[in-house]
Amino acid sequence: MVAFIIRRLLQAVLVMMAVGFVAFSLFAYVGDPVAIMLGQDFTEEARMRLVRDLGLDQPFFVQYFNFLVKAAQGEFGISYRLARPVSDLLMERLPATLELSLCAALLALLVGVPMGVYTGLNRDSFLSRLMLTVSLVGVSLPTFLIGILLILVFSVLLGWLPSFGRGTTVALGWWTTGFLTPTGLRALILPSITLALFQLTLIMRLVRSEMLEVLRTDYIKFARARGLSNRAINFGHALKNTLVPVITITGLQLGGIIAFAIVTETVFQWPGMGFLFIQSVSAADVPVMAAYLILIAFFFVLINLVVDLLYYAVDPRLRVDRGAAGGH
């Protein structure tokens, strides 16, 4: 178990170094920071000094190493566009994105899993067919279109919910939250639904097909032959056996939710990291882009680690040392 975690952590470090390399390459190949920072008029002497100050005269690998060391300390330099430390910018935006992603993920899970179980158990009912048909819409409509449609209906036509922004937020230390004010909560609804819809339908379809698969297994038949109640069979035995694939996909999707909040945040002018990233791309603000890239990669790595640990919690076959198991 400990060896497993250590192995995974080492892998995570390698992944982060690779992502760091890509992020670092942005500096080298997207624009020339010296030219950007010096502006129009400069002396050759000033240019040389800046190159030396930025460490650009040093060999490639030394620069890369320095970049990694600074990145590990949370230092990503100064934004070209806003002339503020990138880490400050990201930290300001992080809560907005994480709160939105959390709401979307919870919505997708809390609605998607029960719907998947229902459609798996009542394969031929009218409601199941309806859910499956409607879920096709969720899978096939692009996120931005869903967002715009929701704004049209609930903000423009009905006027019930705000169409942009986070509403009023409350600062808890450096974390700003929208959970504590009515406007903040109302502002969360539409973006959360937009972001969750695709994941929700995906989870529902996944749980459904896994349920159908598990319900056909011998141990479910045997559980019926033992006279267990339907509730115990469906939720105790069947659902738990669908969890491993569901955890895998959900974990990956959670990373996706955080990363692809970009579109939703842009549609709803949500002051999160994704929106910041889009603005930075259009301004070729390389430090912000690089830092965003690394941060998102970090989330993915972290989530994958949690997913792996959850496997252990769910499936006892992984927990036992190899070799101790008798006869397969």
Partner: protein, 332 residues
Amino acid sequence: MDKLSNRPLLEVKNLRVEFPTRRGTLVAVDDISFSIQPGEVLGVVGESGAGKSLTGAAIIGLLEPPGRVAGGEILLDGQRIDNLPYEKMRRIRGKEIGAVFQDPLTSLNPLYTVGRQLTETILTHLDMSESEARARAIGLLQDVGIPAPERRIDHYPHQFSGGMRQRVVIALALCANPRLIVADEPTTALDVSIQAQIITLIKRLCREHGTAVMLVTHDMGVIAETADRVAVMYAGRIAEIGPVRDVIQRAKHPYTEGLMGSIPKLGNAPARLAQIDGAMPRLTAIPKGCAFNPRCTKRFTPCTQLRPDPIPVGATDVACWLYDQTKKAAAE
């Protein structure tokens, strides 16, 4: 037990199991009748597709849809159980009728300890506290011959070997002390040496608990070893049913004779084994008259025309025109 033995524990009367398909209805079990006395072991043999497993599934009320009981009755202790609503039948399954399936490797839920699966079954059927149920579970594991049950109860299925898992499955079937166990090929998936152990175990437990067993298998050896009576099934019908010794030593139905001829005997000169030519008909193409007639060496006129019903011949019941004196006389 003597008082009870007048009335059979299980009675199957004219049971018919059908599968509606797009190309018409398939009759997988066709009008079969038999009974099991309390504490008796009834073996059911036949080739794959003869309907023996479906009969077992019909008795525990777990036919896979679209299969359904289309006719006849199943009575447990004189009570009809084939037409009970799901919830009522559920309370009989596991409590009155236990089941053992073929593959012990897939019969247990891999995510729960065997202890949890045992106590769950016990608590479903018996009024007990958690700790009583656990004590009973340990006792059951001990009963089925699992060493160190106090420790093993908290192990997961994958930590047991195949034979041990089948023992756990048997313990699960015995949780509520059922009066009948339907064992569907309980030894087929196991090594030969383990098979013998499991058969001995089933025999011993049934004797100790007075449990009747319907033992479905295609292994005549297992039947000879275990059963009191045996039913030979062919193409959804019972060809011959009677005390195991009579059926094995004085087989009457030509199909049973063929079956016995195909079993190697120890001690005899290594002659070529007898075999029955041809194959069992598919359900879509069951021949008119006796289903066995195209393969039968003793076929005569009525066999291709009329379906024989089981008639008593000595200690056994045989579904064969050879034993119908009037038909026989008419043919001669």
